[in-house]
C-alpha cells in the first residue's frame, strides 16, 4: 500500500516540474504507439476477412456480385450435403468440449485437493498432445479407428481424438482458474462445515472457476470446429473436409468462402457470448 501511494504521489511531490513534463510527453508517445499497433493489427486481421467476404459474393463472371454462395450453404447437395457436415461438426464441438470438461474438471480439482504429488506428471501428460504433430497422431489412431468403425461409422466418433487434442488447451485454461482461488482453504472450510468431497467440488470449487470452465469450453469447441488433418486422414467428413472437397470438385468455389466466413463468425459469436457471460457474472457479484 505504501509503495503504491508513494508511486502515485511522486510527480506531485517532486521539487521540479521537469519529470512531470517528461512523463506527459512519454505518455503521448506511448498512446500514439498504441494507436499505430491497433490500426496495423486491425488491418492485418480484417483484410483477409474482407477479402473472404468479397470472394463469397463473387458472381459467375469475374467482377460481378451475387449472393448465391450464401444461399448455397443450405442447398449444396454434396455428397454429402453441406448442412449435414455443418451439423456433425457442431455436434462434435459440443461433444468434445463437454467430454473434455467432464473428464478434466473433477480430475484437476481432485488432484489439487488430494493427490498433489501427481500434478506434475499429470500436467506433462495433458500437454503432450501439443508436442505431437496431428499427422503422427493419425498413425497411432488409424488402427484404433479401424476397430471403432466396426461398431459405429458416424464422424461423431472423432470426438475421442478431439478430446485428446483439446486436453492441453483445456488444461491450461482450467489450471489458471484453479490457481486463482485458494483451493485448500476453501475446501477445508467447506469440509469443516460438513461438506463431503463431492459437495466441495460441485458447490464450492467449480462455481468459483466458472470463467475458467467457460474458457476451456470455448477452446475445446473451437478446436473441434476447425480441425482438418485428423478427420481428413481418417476418412471422415467434417465441415473442414467438406470445404476442401468442394474446393476441389466445384467450379463455383465461392461457397467455401461463404461457409468458412459463416464458421468464423459463429466462433466469434461464441467467444463474445462466453466472455460476456463471464463479465456479467462478475458484475453481478459486485
Amino acid at each position: 500500500m505504501a509503495a503504491v501511494t508513494s508511486v502515485g504521489e511522486a510527480p506531485l511531490a517532486a521539487p521540479v516540474r521537469r519529470p512531470r513534463g517528461m512523463q506527459a510527453g512519454r505518455r503521448r508517445r506511448l498512446n500514439a504507439f498504441r494507436y499505430v499497433v491497433f490500426v496495423f493489427f486491425t488491418l492485418f486481421f480484417l483484410l483477409p476477412l474482407l477479402a473472404m467476404l468479397r470472394f463469397s459474393l463473387e458472381g459467375s463472371t469475374l467482377g460481378t456480385w451475387s449472393a448465391s454462395a450464401w444461399t448455397q450453404i443450405w442447398s449444396y447437395q454434396g455428397p454429402p450435403p453441406l448442412m449435414s457436415s455443418v451439423e456433425i461438426t457442431l455436434e462434435l464441438a459440443v461433444l468434445t468440449s463437454v467430454v473434455t470438461l467432464v473428464l478434466l474438471v473433477p480430475t484437476m480439482i481432485w488432484i489439487r485437493l488430494r493427490v498433489r504429488w501427481i500434478s506434475q506428471p499429470f500436467e506433462f501428460l495433458c500437454l503432450l498432445p501439443l508436442t505431437i504433430p496431428a499427422i503422427s497422431l493419425v498413425v497411432g489412431l488409424a488402427p484404433v479407428y479401424n476397430k471403432i468403425r466396426h461398431y459405429e461409422l458416424s464422424a461423431l466418433m472423432l470426438f475421442f481424438a478431439y478430446v485428446i487434442l483439446a486436453l492441453p488447451y483445456a488444461y491450461r485454461a482450467l489450471a489458471a482458474g484453479l490457481n486463482a482461488i485458494d483451493v485448500k482453504t476453501l475446501s477445508e472450510a467447506a469440509r469443516s462445515l460438513g461438506a463431503s468431497w463431492f459437495t466441495v467440488m460441485v458447490r464450492v470449487i467449480a462455481p468459483n472457476m466458472r470463467q475458467a470452465i467457460l474458457n476451456a469450453l470455448l477452446l475445446s469447441a473451437s478446436l473441434a470446429l476447425g480441425e482438418f488433418t485428423i478427420a481428413y486422414t481418417l476418412l471422415y467428413t467434417n465441415l473442414q473436409v467438406e470445404l476442401y472437397s468442394i474446393d476441389r470438385n466445384t467450379p463455383n468455389a465461392s461457397v467455401i468462402f461463404s461457409t468458412s466466413l459463416a464458421a468464423l463468425v459463429f466462433v466469434f459469436l461464441l467467444l463474445l457470448i462466453v466472455s460476456y457471460a463471464g463479465r456479467r457474472r462478475r458484475r453481478g457479484m459486485r
Partner: protein, 351 residues
Amino acid sequence: MEGLSRRYGEVVALDGLDLTVHAGELVTLLGPSGCGKTTTLRLLAGLEDADAGQITVGETDVTRLPASKRDMGMVFQAYSLFPHMTARQNVAFGLRLRRIGSAQRDKKALEMLELVGLAEQAGRYPHQLSGGQQQRVALARALAIEPQVLLLDEPLSALDAKVRGQLRDQIRRIQLDVGITTLFVTHDQEEALAISDRVGVMQGGRIEQLAPPTEVYSRPATSFVAEFVGLTNRLAGTVSGSTVTVRGRDLPLVDISTAPGPAIALVRPEAVTLASDSSGDSGPLTGTVIASTFLGATSRVTVDLGDTTIMAQLSTADAVELPAGSRVSLTIRPDPVLVSADAAPAAEAEA
C-alpha cells in the same frame, strides 16, 4: 459435554501432546511458528490425520472421523469465505448441508450475522467486505452449525492492529455469550493473554505450560515460557538455597529446587525501576541510558551496565526524565524469578 482429551505420539510436529479443554472454556495455544500449535488444531478438525493418539469430544471418539463429520466450527487464518456466495449464503452453507429448510436457514443465518454485527452486510459478497468483516462472517458461519467445539486458527493475523484488537474482544464476548468450547491458536502473546481462560505455551510439539494467563506471565513454568511470554532480561547470577543473587541483589526463586551455582536469572522489565543517579559512582546497579522506546503510557528504557544491558519498563512520565546518556541507578523488585537452564554467558535482554 464432559471435556476433551487427546494424545498424539511419534508425530514429528506433535510429540505426544495431551490437552483437555473443559466445556465452555477458551484455551489458547501460544507458541512460535513450527511449534505444532496449528497442527494440533488441524488434527482436531480432522484436516490432517494423527499418526498416533486419540481425540475425544465428550464421550465420543472422533479420531477416525472425517472432517465433515466432526461437528467442529473452524475459522481460518486465510480468508476462507466462498467468493461466489453472499455473506448470508456463506453462513447458511453449513445449515444447507444439514438439510435445514430455507426459511429457517435464512433466519438462523441472519441471527448469526447479527451476533457478529454484520446483519446489514448480509447481501454482500466477500470481496465487498473488509478483512475484519470477512473474518466475522467466517466466525458466524462456523457458529451457525452450532458445533460442539470452535477452532480458531490465527483468525486475526491478517488484520491491522486496531481491527485486530476490536475483533479479539468481540470474539471473546461472543464466545462467552454462546458458551462454546473454544480452542484458539496464535503466535501473538498479547492476544493469548487477553482473551483466554487458559493459555498453553507450546514448543517443539509439546505444551510447556498450561495455565491461566496471569499465572503464565507471573509464574512461568520453564525458561522458554518466561522468554516467549513478555519481555525478559537475562542476567547472570548465582543460585543458593531459595534465592538467586543477581548483581548483589537477592531474588526469590519460582522453583526452589533449582540446583545451586551460577545461572541466568530471567527478570521482567517491569520489575526493574530506574532513578537518576548523580553520584558518579559505578557499581553493579548503576549504568547509562542508551535508548528509550516510547510505547504510549509506558516506555522501555535500555540501560548499559558496562558488562551487559538491561531493559526496564517505566511510566512514560518517569522515562522522560531519563534521556539517553543520563546516569541511572537500578532497583530490582524482588518478584519470584525463574532461572534459565542454559547457563550460557549471554546476558542480554531478549524479546
